[in-house]
Amino acid sequence: MTDQAAAISAETFRRFQQGDEDAAVQIVTAYHRRLLGYLCVQTGNQEAADDLAQEVFLAAYQQRHAIRNEKALKAWLFTVASRKAARSLRRNPPIQLVEHDDSRGDLVASAPDGASPPWVSLHNTQADEQVRQALEALPPVDRDLVMLRYFGELSIKELADALDMPMGTVGVKLGRALAKMKTHLEKQGISLGDLLA
């Protein structure tokens, strides 16, 4: 994948483990966009994503000696992010958007029951929004699997290690999750070809 986060060299990771601040910042620079993207979609909240991403990087720095090597770093970051996002959602489940009406000076509910989830405000393109809705339709476990795969760019083996599942199970689950998303999109009358165009 051409857009994957820049790999961290063994030397950078060694300096990171020794507490080198510049090396830690290199790691932040390499992974923060992907991590923020992942957390943003998972939590539906830019602020929460920012806070959680900071927590993840600080946790990595605090526990840097527990991270095996540079190859394990990415999976470590996204696994911790996944746990923190799940914990955050348990504490602060997505809430309904309310807009402020300047002319009245009070609050006006704008999102009726069944309206789009909070992350709808984050969408950039219509295609992205369709994908988001298909992701939302997945069970949480499947959604996290897909998110870790594509945002974290984790391999099947890394996913299997992170989720404590056999590689075969991960492959099957991932395939089923993608099939569910595809079915969801097709039911909406959305062509994958059009989305990719």
Partner: protein, 271 residues
């Protein structure tokens, strides 16, 4: 995908695979604009972190009150704390109105999410946004500064997640508490105002009394005093505050909400 994926079974559906890759890439690239200074902020936080003892597995410096106490008595820390403490006053008697919560005045971009009836209402101000929010028939007034975010869990409790809020509570009101990452502040006395700033929490009392507590200790803070809690591992430190003054931004919100046109508010003139 990474090199380790050469042995992957591969995507069962190439179109879905392409679609999700693009979605992840575009969403992630957009984070550069949405969180433009993230790396710079992380550098600052990492620098703070690197000054602490190296974090071995299971050894997290923030949870060790012993080391925190050593930091508490540092003259440098106290001096830094003194610089960031500002005064606060109680200056608001907004007219009582009906709803449990009302956005009385805003400047710039303010986002209101959720509802009090739903259990949680989040107020967030953008970089150039501020607002005045009246709570519980406006017995409580929240002045939220720029780039701040809080959650109103109930009319008697808020949680400050980021930034700064000044709070005024009318005398003889019911219980009211503020929760931050570092501490919990409970109203004990009558009228009071607090200033919270994150990271780290600073509480200043203009009149009345509040308690400030976290896992390491609890202190009572009287009028004219401030308590600073740099993080959860440090006991709250009491300091004396001289010449308390309401910041201009809060005063402008007050004037905007009430139609008043006073240039400055002086605590001694407020009864």
């Amino acid at each position: 995908m990474s090199e380790t994926e050469r042995d992957d079974p591969g995507p069962q559906d190439e179109q879905m695979d392409d679609l999700l890759r693009r979605f992840a890439r575009e969403t992630s690239e957009a984070q550069g604009d949405a969180h433009g200074d993230f790396a710079a902020r992380m550098r600052t936080r990492l620098r703070e972190q690197s000054r602490r003892p190296p974090g071995q597995k299971g050894q997290v410096a923030e949870t060790k009150c012993a080391s925190a106490r050593r930091r508490r008595i540092s003259p440098l820390l106290l001096a830094a704390a003194a610089l960031v403490l500002v005064a606060a006053v109680s200056f608001l008697m907004l007219r009582r109105s009906g709803p449990a919560g009302t956005l009385r005045h805003q400047v710039g971009t303010v986002t209101v999410e959720g509802s009090l009836e739903g259990g949680d209402l989040r107020l967030t101000t953008a970089a150039a946004g501020r607002c005045l929010y009246g709570l519980d028939g406006e017995r409580i007034a929240l002045f939220l500064n720029e780039d701040s975010s809080l959650v109103i869990a109930s009319p008697g409790e808020i949680q400050l997640d980021r930034g700064e809020v000044w709070i005024t509570v009318r005398p003889k009101s019911g219980p009211f508490a503020v929760q931050t990452a570092e501490a919990r502040i409970d109203v004990i006395g009558t009228v009071f105002s607090v200033r919270l700033a994150s990271p780290g929490t600073t509480v200043m009392v203009e009149s009345g009394r509040v308690s400030v507590q976290n896992g390491c200790g609890i202190v009572g803070v009287e009028a004219g005093q401030a308590a600073r809690v740099p993080n959860r591992a440090l006991e709250p430190v009491i300091e004396i505050v001289e010449n308390p003054a309401v910041p201009d931004w809060a005063w402008e919100l007050y004037n905007g909400a009430t139609g008043a046109n006073q240039e400055r508010y002086y605590p001694s003139s407020h009864k």
